[in-house]
Symmetry: C2
Subunit: 350 residues, 2 copies
Amino acid sequence: MEPKELMGYYKMKVEENLKEFFKEKKKGLEHWSSREACEILEEYTLRGGKRIRAILMIVGYKMMGGKNDEIIKASSSLELIQSYLLIHDDIMDESDLRRGKDTVHKIYEKKHLKNGFGGRPIRFGESMAIIAGDLANAYAMEILSSSDFPAELKVKAIHKLNEIIEYTGYGQIIDIYSGALEEFKEEDLLLLHKYKTARYTIEGPLALGIILAGKEPEGIENYAIPVGIAFQLQDDILGLFGSEEGIGKPVTSDLAEGKKTLLIIKALENGSEEDRKIIMQALGNPAVTYEQLEKVREIVRRTGSLDYSKNLAKKMVEEAKDYLKGIEVEDEEMRDFLLWLADYMISRSY
Amino acid sequence: MEPKELMGYYKMKVEENLKEFFKEKKKGLEHWSSREACEILEEYTLRGGKRIRAILMIVGYKMMGGKNDEIIKASSSLELIQSYLLIHDDIMDESDLRRGKDTVHKIYEKKHLKNGFGGRPIRFGESMAIIAGDLANAYAMEILSSSDFPAELKVKAIHKLNEIIEYTGYGQIIDIYSGALEEFKEEDLLLLHKYKTARYTIEGPLALGIILAGKEPEGIENYAIPVGIAFQLQDDILGLFGSEEGIGKPVTSDLAEGKKTLLIIKALENGSEEDRKIIMQALGNPAVTYEQLEKVREIVRRTGSLDYSKNLAKKMVEEAKDYLKGIEVEDEEMRDFLLWLADYMISRSY
């Protein structure tokens, strides 16, 4: 299969599995409010996404010789973990929308308003969303622990998955601090990307697949961490230079959110006093204009900050590919997919 | 050992284990903000509590013939799950204090205020507390999955633990709805107690111990569910009729919080129009007076609602004990402990 075809195929398989899981889950629930929460989680989880984490888990498994179709079920647990983390993130960011639809806390808040419940709608919404997120995590652990793999391997996978979640939490803490602290260094930022993107999105899923194939996952980080950081760097580039259609959100939103990306950090370092002033006026300004955005883009280009990020991303992708070419695998198609994915990370426009 | 001595002994063992876990965990953390979160979790988890869930897991294990001291480590995971759920509950209830000290969101909020961070202190505090809770859950799963038991049994235990957390979530949802909806029925209340107290506090921990001992946990619910409900009924009785010293909070606080306990539900059902008015004026009223409390107490007594709860609790305890006396166990001391515990649930004054 072509890489994009492979992604589409496994995306469909994972989503079929999730639908089946929710169908069974709902059958066993006694109380209307449990069913309601379960339905909200189902809709939220299935409303979109590339399923990249589940797919990487499947690819890691097959690349190392795994043959059991239960990997589809096991990998779908990662999509529930994704819901868990996103639902909680949405509360922290006070986001109203996720993939163009109401976030979970917003769904419950609107329910409260519409029905005239007692108490405050926002508190009600956030409380329910905290619980809904926690439920998604429990579902994920249930799926993984009940998948048909040898118990020894499942225990290793569950341990690894919780380590991944743990480090994503540390990354999220750094992220929250980045909005609260004046000073935010390049090394903090790289650690944030390592925890929140590289480990969680790339290395963790691949490692989980390799573990379930009965192999040692240690080496794969030499591919996964640089690819993950390149992915994040490209995300930040698209967040500042991309098109609204491509990234699916206003092109000013990264600036408005005050994201201290490497692009911004390097431009602040190398820019003039005047440049710094322009950037700081735009950064974290919810009313930032398109004109301000254009000025920031110009500074990021002129100071060499854009090239710095692009070159760093390219270097990381090359490093990752070199490593991957040198290891022993049992399925060349999967290796080729990962080589393609590394390049795709920095060539994609969305 | 006497029952109280046994409780004290295992409480100490579990706490030793938690201290050791946090000591090791902190060693491996790279970033100051990860260590900070870990230290906050350590202090929060260790600041008190009877460790009843961990102790019940140990008792269930030993009663069914388990001999491995690793059960102490495995059971300490339940205390981290307790932190996970309490930290999130504290956010939902907007509680400032837990066991006489700042809740996690309050700790972070104060840090924000003291250091003059950017953004809003309350949002910062709640965001950090959501993550800190999530970390505690990941720690718990890591501990259980790395404890020295056969992998087959660990997988079963992890699956069960996540089911317990899932149902606690459903209970919490009912609890939040109970504050938001006008109508709250006895059957909703009993389901809430079954999920949040009986399954989570009593049945789940015992079942986990039995699973790790290699036995089937199914029957134990015939003991655990009634004891759990009796525990909750007694909690509600103490919440209305107890002393401030005994329960460690103002005697008016259950009323002020608007808790729709069985005592209140039955009094509303059987009281006069005037009685109902008095109760509704006190319920959920943050400024409820001691005089109002006395009137509500009188109504709850006069309508037979207090006796109804007491008799129900007594009946449940007898049912539980009858079941437990009839099963085969390998350690009589542990059975005696559970028989004592059932009686203790309704005789305790705190």
